[in-house]
Symmetry: C2
């Protein structure tokens, strides 16, 4: 018994400060607690295997209140996809601004750090990218395409690649995004043993280096 039959104040956990909350602020917080609850539960199963009731139970509200925030679980899935992609994009933006001593080693290191830090988000993205409902997949695919565009633009600024066609830039960017996602998957699968992690990192670095080598010798058309 955690909540002692908490009477009329809505049962969502009280705000950190004891101060009163505006109505929309409270709503936003409850919505977020639904997203957080879902993300927590998604460590164990996929969105398809998650019930509305489970999520509301975990979030600490009654099932019917769910509809005040989302029309369906799929809609919650789309919201989660957007939240997760925001995480991913922020990460890439930060990585881009960093000085690049060894760009590849650095990129992999940031990737590893971010995956560890936002593991549930990445797990969700990887799980639902192809396994999820149509709308969720579409939301993720759209964001991923956007991400490819950004990277392509970036690549075009590199000295040797200024003359590349936008088509080729796009192709190379997609190849790198794909490789990055493969690495993310491997990172999520890796066990607790630190040797495994080092192994995955080493392979990732060499794979990216191989792609970079291919790019360096590419004859753009």
């Amino acid at each position: 018994m955690v909540t002692t039959a908490g009477p009329r104040r809505p049962s969502t956990l009280a705000p950190v400060t004891g101060a009163v909350e505006s109505r929309q602020e409270r709503k936003r917080r409850t919505r977020q607690s639904l997203l957080d609850a879902a993300l927590r539960l998604l460590a164990d199963s996929s969105l398809a295997g998650l019930s509305l009731r489970e999520v509301t139970r975990e979030a600490g509200i009654v099932p019917t209140a769910f509809y005040r925030h989302f029309a369906s679980m799929d809609e919650l899935g789309v919201a989660l996809a957007e939240e997760s992609m925001r995480t991913l994009r922020t990460m890439l933006r930060d990585a881009r601004q960093k000085p690049a001593d060894d760009a590849i080693k650095g990129s992999v290191a940031t990737l590893v750090a971010q995956v560890r830090k936002h593991e549930p988000h990445f797990r969700f993205l990887v799980r639902e990218r192809y396994g999820g409902a149509a709308e969720v997949r579409r939301a993720i695919a759209a964001e991923l395409r956007l991400l490819g565009s950004e990277l392509a633009t970036d690549l075009g600024r590199f000295p040797g690649m200024a003359t590349w066609s936008s088509d080729d830039l796009r192709m190379a960017a997609d190849l790198m995004v794909g490789a990055m996602l493969s690495i993310v998957m491997a990172l999520l699968d890796v066990g607790d043993h630190p040797d495994d992690l080092a192994q995955v990192i080493g392979v990732a670095e060499r794979q990216l280096r191989m792609i970079a080598l291919g790019m360096a010798h590419w004859h753009p058309r």
Copy 2:
């Protein structure tokens, strides 16, 4: 009303020939019809969103008979994973024995043909590789690792790569497998418009070519 209250002969569709069937042959056929039914239904949803009753309904048997073949849906999922990987491995084996005029163009062409031919199998693999239950994921991952090993061995036979470390061979093979799977995903997502398909094929060929270029200039350690 399709079956007119079919009396005592078990309701699974009669064998093509009217000949009598041995008991184990009939069991094998029913088991296969369960797998086929599941694969058919999996076009619309993931394994997690599929119920035991749905599958038996589609297969034309009663729910409880399911247990004569699998202990759970997850077990059926593992069987499906094995079946699908058999398809994939057969494909790669065939591709390997073909003469290679333009190896990359040829590989992509076979890939496209096979994906079209066995679309449900590939869709299942891609969907469940990360979205599925732990056991299913493990089954797929194990088969994929095996596939990487085979490819690594193959690569080692290429003239320029004889001196590569087995580690590097493995790394390169995994990179190619990953790229191949990305291409499969793209092929499954592609719409009916033939231009889209041509676009995907073009990108795939150039991506593989870029990786090959990287391999050609690799300095093995």
